[in-house]
Symmetry: C2
Subunit: 303 residues, 2 copies
């Protein structure tokens, strides 16, 4: 019997999305709930089980028709053993065999991975990096995450923790970073740092408003976005020289600044990375938006 | 008939080494000549052909017994098409189909690649990175070169130019680098920069003497090596976070400083790279020394 459906889950610190996808990765239906409403590990796991069953019932889909449940998670994951090491932003999770726990309760194959890895996979297979072979994907938000595709496959690294682009140093000394080091890319271009600088200029302001101001020609706002672009471009020119990718995909809230950010990045990369690497790399905006996570999670059963 | 031999060539800006290896990569014989003695492209190519034939005659080896000729070259190479794009330090070479030219004259299969790629391959297969899976290899000399092994295979990148570790920025601003950018790793820890700083402290001095001074407790010399180690460690902590290798192999003249350099590197990486990546990476000195290049060139016919 053909297995026509996949469940793709994107568990985030704020919201959790559960998608029902067909085997061509089209999203048939989607449930979103507040992760923070379900306090404690057991409670959150039960919520996942409940909503998965809910989706299947609603569409009258028997389990035999489901290929499996893929889950993207906001922290370091042992994707081979199906273990959550911990979540930086959700308390109470430490070395949890999440894949096994869910499999035993729902009697379906379960695969888990880091959320940014799955966004990378989705953008590579179906999004902005579709025709690339060696790709780097960045998610710019509170944190700066990254994923790597090597020769058409997700590259996880020797301890399954590759892709921490946010923690590449861009200065020997610099602002203190959440990871404990100083001068990491994230400490310069993370959401909170940008907003802190924007607040000093304009008072309390949202990221979208800062972008609007820049678009309308406000010089201070433009300068701030260009500075963000310069640091990002500096880091990416190192990645271009070292990794020689054909595509760099940039997503996440901060990427919403659009061309003012991307132009500044491009300028630095063209100015300081080396030929031929700099000439073949495309730096593009992510395409799949909010759904990238659940599509990537479902892709675990297609890859 | 079994093919029992391989010719491995390491063409450098100063010297060229031609090795006769058996198919277990043991060097049976080796010729070294001054590259600069043979001015002009044709002249140098003829020298290669002459010395290859010489080696075969001397050991009474018929061509049918030779698997092929592998050549490592000091510049950007199209290893697939067998083309030398150019040499930064040898004039007169531009888009030369070297593999074809030599093959047509000597009637043997010819493969060419960048020299640092081949050193990386040699250290991975037979040297300090033998048991690793994802490895980075650095050669510290006048230039700072690098090569990458991904999942047990040489990774060349999308335009065959990956591995330019020397041109990862370690500061937004900094000393001018040979590549045109500022603040590249090479501009901080390249041979000439180290010697310039050493000269300001001690007058004209060789690298080995600087190391001796440091070993004998000279504070200025120790400080200089520690500074070199700090910049290298800063860059490598970014590579550890991004690429998550299990092994980093460091060779070349500057690596001769030994533990004073390696201890400083290790200290920075442990201090600022992230777990678990920093805990599983081994930072080790290259093992194959001067022969790495010809062994790597021969490996092109084994890989």
């Amino acid at each position: 019997m053909s297995q026509d459906f996949i469940i793709g889950i994107d568990l985030g610190g704020t919201n959790t999305k559960i998608g029902l996808l067909d085997n061509r990765l089209k999203i048939k239906d989607k449930i979103i709930f507040s992760t923070q409403k379900f306090r404690g590990k057991e409670c959150l796991i039960n919520a996942l089980l409940f909503y998965i069953q809910n989706l299947l019932n609603k569409h009258k889909i028997r389990k035999e028709k489901v290929r499996g449940v893929g889950i993207g998670l906001p922290g370091p994951i042992d994707s081979q053993k199906g273990i959550v090491h911990y979540f930086p932003n959700i308390a109470g999770w430490k070395e949890v065999s999440l894949a096994r726990i869910i499999r035993q309760k729902i009697h379906l194959p379960v695969l888990i991975d880091n959320d940014v890895n799955l966004i990378t996979l989705a953008e590579f297979k179906l999004g902005a990096g579709k025709k690339s072979r060696n790709m780097v994907c960045l998610t710019l938000g509170t944190g700066v995450g990254g994923g790597i595709i090597v020769e058409g496959k997700l590259y996880r690294g020797s301890s399954l923790s590759a892709g921490e682009i946010g923690h590449i140093p861009v200065a020997a000394d610099g602002p203190k970073c959440g990871c404990g080091a100083k001068g990491c890319l994230e400490s310069y271009i993370g959401n909170s740092r940008i907003l802190k600088k924007a607040k000093a200029l304009f008072g309390a302001i949202k990221l979208e408003e800062l972008t609007q101001k820049a678009r309308h020609g406000n010089r201070e706002a433009r300068k701030l976005w260009q500075e963000v672009g310069s640091y990002l471009g500096l880091c990416l020119s190192g990645i271009v020289n070292f990794f020689n990718p054909d595509c760099i995909v940039i997503g996440g809230g901060v990427a919403g600044a659009g061309s003012i950010l991307f132009d500044a990045v491009e300028k630095v990369v063209i100015g300081r990375a080396m030929a031929p690497a700099k000439n073949i790399v495309k730096i593009v905006r992510a395409k799949l938006g909010q759904d990238a996570g659940i599509i990537g999670a479902a892709l675990l059963f297609i890859e």
